[in-house]
């Protein structure tokens, strides 16, 4: 019998490789862009922000963009892995429980009802909408005082998403400006990253990620079923609630900042699972590391693919990610949950 996959890939090495890769992509993200800046010049203005055009490009655009790509990518990867564990559904993406639909509905509602609120407030509305949608889903999921089982949560999420999506569609039909606002936001892009957004989003994501990664052992116990979980001293209801809150915060913050690029959250945990098997203690941190590599890598590709314009990261992620995902599915048996 062959050794289980998790034994063949010792964790520290994998983690170190992923960290090195992430660092490499981050360097690329600082060095490569629509404007050609020589590597030496990039290095020079990084050390000495002299107010030149190159310095402004690096400090005001590429640095926030890179940091946001790492934060949002990590959030999407981890929330996808958590969502798949929570729902015991390999097709789950972080938006399954209405997070994206809620964020989109809030963005459009705010744009229509309070047009004076301005572009900068989109992120706040998206966060609020994501939170509200998940609260509704959870309330429906445990309606009548019953337990919020994975199936009930998923069904409640789908129903809520459907209602919110039609609400969003109705509003965008009425109001052209909202349609425009949503259209850009829906694609998903890192291009508009701003320093203050990073400062707002990154700490929230870091905190939620710490809690999320710590859930690994408890989710492992729950994977054996609620009864077995209880026998191992884990309260299924509480673990599910905490996971749900963490997913909402992670996915809500990432979605609010860069738009709904949930495909990363679907694909990355699958790729990681090939190496780790179903052990959440490995799956969760490695997904958190791999996802920003994918997202930021796609963003860098998008910057050079359509010069002098740019392709949105959301578009590139789908173009690059989908074939990889298909390859992954075909190459070997998809690891079960």
């Amino acid at each position: 019998m062959p050794a289980p996959p998790s034994a063949r890939f010792t964790r520290p090495v994998t983690v170190l490789v992923l960290i090195a890769l992430l660092a490499a992509v981050a360097v690329l993200s600082l060095a490569v862009g629509a404007k050609s800046i020589a590597p030496g010049e990039v290095w020079r203005v990084l050390l000495d922000n002299d107010g030149s055009d190159d310095a402004v490009v690096i400090w005001d655009r590429r640095v926030p963009r890179t940091l946001l790509g790492i934060a949002a990518g990590a959030a999407l990867g981890l929330s996808g892995a958590l969502m798949q564990a929570l729902s015991r559904n390999p097709l789950a993406d972080p938006g399954l429980l209405g997070v994206n639909a809620g964020a989109a509905a809030a963005v459009v509602t705010a744009g229509t009802l309070i047009p004076a609120a301005g572009e900068g407030t989109t992120i706040l509305f998206a966060c609020a909408g994501a939170g509200l949608a998940t609260a509704i889903v959870y309330t429906i999921g445990r309606g009548g005082g019953r337990r919020a089982t994975p199936v009930r949560l998923v069904l409640a999420g789908m129903a809520t998403s459907a209602v919110l999506a039609s609400f969003t569609a109705a509003l965008t039909l009425i109001d052209n400006d909202s349609a425009d606002r949503l259209r850009f936001w829906m694609v998903g892009s890192l291009a508009a990253a701003k320093g203050d957004e990073v400062v707002l989003v990154a700490p929230v994501i870091a905190l939620a990620a710490a809690v999320g990664i710590a859930l690994g052992a408890r989710l492992n116990a729950l994977a054996l079923g609620d009864e077995a979980g209880r026998a191992l001293g884990v309260d299924p209801g509480r673990v599910r609630l905490v996971t749900l809150v963490v997913v909402t915060v992670l996915c809500g913050a990432a979605t609010a900042a860069i738009g709904p690029i949930t495909f990363v959250g679907l694909m990355v945990p699958h790729a990681v699972r090939l190496f780790t098997g179903p052990d959440q203690r490995r799956l969760l941190p490695l997904s958190t590391l791999l996802a920003p590599i994918v997202l930021l890598g796609c963003d860098v590709i998008g910057r050079v693919a359509a010069r002098p314009g740019e392709l949105e990261a959301g578009v590139v992620t789908a173009f690059v990610g989908a074939p990889l995902f298909i390859l992954l599915v075909r190459r070997r048996k998809v690891a079960d949950l």
Partner: protein, 317 residues
């Protein structure tokens, strides 16, 4: 739905040349002084083929851009789709426009409302959005003028004027524009030697530089103004750039940006607030100007832009 043309800031290279030729030939029957039998109808060639329409339509419904074209030549439609960007009315037309009953918005036309207005002519001017031409034709004779690129809008407005027998009114507008163009050109030869550019942005880290064939660019082109390097093109009306490349506007002395509702959009304000923008020569010299009616599609709004450009030229000394 109208955003396809909204982005593509408009206009017109061939129109100026081709227009005169078109102006004379709208009516099928204006033969001599035989007042005994005035024509009651004329045949108009539109995108949807040859259509027989009343010579003096009394109740016209304007759909999409057609409403602006009709108001320009003194016809108030009895019904219109919602008047919103990119269709902009001049201040004088706005009060009239506000009174017209709406028969839908964007590409959504409420056929029952159209029918209830009992029109004797329906005119659709816009991009190909699967307009219900057959159903409209069942209500009243319908002319559809398809616009495949923004530069066709002015020519299309001209055809609409001819279709409703308002050739003379259109010629007045057109001649007035040509005269103003010549006047401004003669008045500010030095200011016109500066390098001009026109840009727009919809956020998301990108922006667009309009060329000589962009709408504002066309007015500048007509004036014989100088163009900044990235605007000095005619192959397309605008090109997309990442905002990382804002510095390509470095050689521009004057930047013109289309307003929305009399002011810059949020996305424009955001771009103007970036460190890169503030490094531009034009920004330092405070030569970044908003321009109203930048989605203009016809001669009144063309002239309105020209008037604003003249003010900017005055400021350049």
């Amino acid at each position: 739905m109208t955003h396809v043309l909204r982005r593509s800031r408009l206009l017109i290279a061939a129109v100026a040349a081709g227009a005169l030729a078109l102006t004379g030939c709208g009516s099928s029957d204006d033969s001599s002084g035989d007042s005994a039998s005035p024509a009651t109808s004329r045949v108009v060639e539109a995108t949807n083929g040859k259509v027989t329409v009343p010579a003096n339509p009394k109740r016209v419904v304007g759909i999409n851009y057609a409403t602006g074209a009709l108001l320009d030549v003194g016809i108030t439609p009895v019904g219109t789709t919602k008047i919103e960007e990119p269709l902009e009315l001049t201040p004088e037309q706005r009060a009239v426009g506000a009174e017209i009953p709406e028969v839908g918005a964007g590409d959504q036309v409420n056929l029952e409302k159209v029918a209830s207005l009992k029109p004797d002519l329906i005119i659709v001017e816009g991009a190909d959005f699967d307009w219900p031409i057959d159903k409209l034709t069942a209500i009243a004779p319908t002319l559809y003028f398809e616009v495949t690129k923004p530069s066709e809008l002015v020519g299309s407005a001209e055809k609409i004027a001819q279709a409703v027998g308002k050739d003379a009114e259109l010629k007045k507008l057109k001649d007035a524009y040509a005269a103003r163009l010549a006047e401004v050109k003669g008045k500010y030869p030095e200011a016109l030697e500066k390098k001009f550019t026109t840009v727009s942005t919809y956020g998301e880290g990108k922006f667009y530089i309009g060329t000589r064939t962009s709408w504002i660019g066309q007015v500048l082109n007509g004036l014989g103004a100088g163009f900044a390097k990235e605007s000095d093109k005619t192959d397309t009306h605008e090109n997309e750039y990442s905002q990382e490349k804002i510095s390509v506007l470095g050689d521009a002395d004057v930047v013109l940006i289309g307003n929305s509702g009399g002011k810059f959009t949020e996305q424009t304000e955001e771009m103007l607030a970036t460190g890169q923008w503030k490094l531009l020569k034009a920004a330092k010299a405070e030569q970044v100007h908003g321009v109203d009616f930048s989605y203009a599609d016809r001669y009144t709004t063309l002239t309105a832009v020209l008037t604003q450009v003249e003010k900017i030229l005055q400021g350049l000394g």
